[in-house]
């Protein structure tokens, strides 16, 4: 922030976030590249930042997903801060340096660009994508119910007007399909973390069933350690547990898809706060939230580094 003009303690339009992503890649070309992974329904680019110290295209990798629900602005803001943090701390912090020595990190700060733009131009409380539903006056599908993991199961709706409308078929939303295609083509992701708000929760599969995931015990341990690390900064308390019993049944989610497709370390963060501001978290809380979340993310990434499979 000192060397550039991007205020990490403020919310920004999509163009500003994309410009900052480009700046980060330009500033650290030996570590970062900005990769276009697809286009949205309204033809906006979808950009990820790839953090890599080399070692070939199919190195083990971590996917950090943010902003899939448009109105959860702290998610996108935390993600772009995290991008800058990674490059700032590389070769200074032994943890992130050793993580990047073994794995690549892909960061998607705005997983739902059309929705995000809509929250800024029209309706601040929009959640879904902006795709057109034939035969319906209602727009969009819930991009976190559109993944092929018990698609159209409990916790979703077949009504296009619903906030949890699952879409016409799995990956019907081009924003979801772009991520799915990229991850499947890569074939060597070991970790998928999805950032949402609000509620201060750290969850792992499953959302679509109360059945215990095979790795539930390990994921629970990792999550508890991550929540503890997060809390160590400012005392922010997170609840930990499987999605289905910690919040509610939610089928077709990104994290469940990732887990069922061989990505063992799959987690959902619900960031600040617990409801005082809800989705309208003041910008003054962006940096404190991002700083504490970073400690949780690092804990998870260190575990992935030490437990590659």
């Amino acid at each position: 922030e000192r060397s550039g003009d991007f205020n990490y303690g403020a919310y920004h339009p999509l163009e500003a976030i994309y410009h900052e992503m480009d700046s980060i890649a330009t500033d650290f070309p030996e570590l970062v590249s900005r990769v276009k992974i697809g286009e949205t329904f309204e033809k906006r680019p979808m950009y990820v930042l790839k953090f890599s110290t080399g070692g070939g295209k199919k190195r083990p990798a971590i996917w950090l997903n943010a902003g899939i629900h448009a109105r959860e602005w702290i998610s996108q803001a935390t993600a772009i801060w995290t991008a800058r943090k990674i490059v700032t701390d590389y070769k200074k912090d032994p943890a992130i340096t050793s993580i990047l020595k073994k794995v690549d990190i892909f960061l998607l700060p705005v997983a739902n660009p059309d929705g995000y733009v809509y929250t800024q131009s029209q309706n601040r409380l929009w959640r879904k994508t902006r795709s057109r539903n034939p035969g319906s006056r209602c727009v969009g599908a819930d991009p976190n119910r559109n993944w092929n993991a018990s698609f159209a199961g409990e916790g979703t709706s077949d009504n296009p007007c619903s906030e949890v409308y699952h879409g016409s078929h799995p990956n019907s939303e081009v924003e979801v399909k772009s991520v799915v295609d990229f991850i499947q083509k890569h074939g060597n992701f070991k970790c998928f973390i999805d950032l949402h708000s609000y509620s201060q929760l750290l969850m792992y599969p499953y959302g679509y069933t109360v059945k215990k995931a095979p790795d539930a015990e390990e994921l629970d341990d990792v999550a508890r350690n991550a929540a503890q690390a997060l809390a160590s900064l400012s005392g922010t308390k997170y609840r930990v547990g499987p999605t289905c019993t910690t919040v509610y049944p939610a089928s077709g989610s990104s994290v469940d898809w990732a887990y069922d497709n061989g990505i063992k370390y799959a987690f959902t963060f619900e960031l600040r706060d617990t409801g005082y501001y809800g989705f309208l978290l003041p910008a003054s809380q962006i940096i404190p939230t991002a700083e504490e979340t970073w400690l949780g993310l690092k804990t998870i990434m260190e575990h992935v580094r030490d437990h590659l499979y």
């Binding site: 403020a10 601040r124 409380l125 906030e163 910690t246 509610y248 409801g275 809800g278």
Partner: protein, 94 residues
Amino acid sequence: RDKFFGDQVFRINVRNGDEIRKLTELVNSDHLKLSVWKSPSTFDRPVDILVPSVSLLPVKSFLKSQGLDYSVTIEDLQALLDNEDEEMQHNEGI
């Protein structure tokens, strides 16, 4: 941009399955135009609902008649949105 003058966010504490069912019926009433921020789930987690200004009285009346415990967590949604907007514009100016 859409405005939310007079709209409020209610937090409803649900204690059992019956209360969740009643609340779900309320949320599904089309004419009230309620928007769920946090869905009904386990019994120890509250439900957050955005209530448009025109529905405040009927919703309060329903909650009271059903014995559902609630509080208003955001009394003036538009004020929060205006602050946020002002901040963003100020930042862009800088």
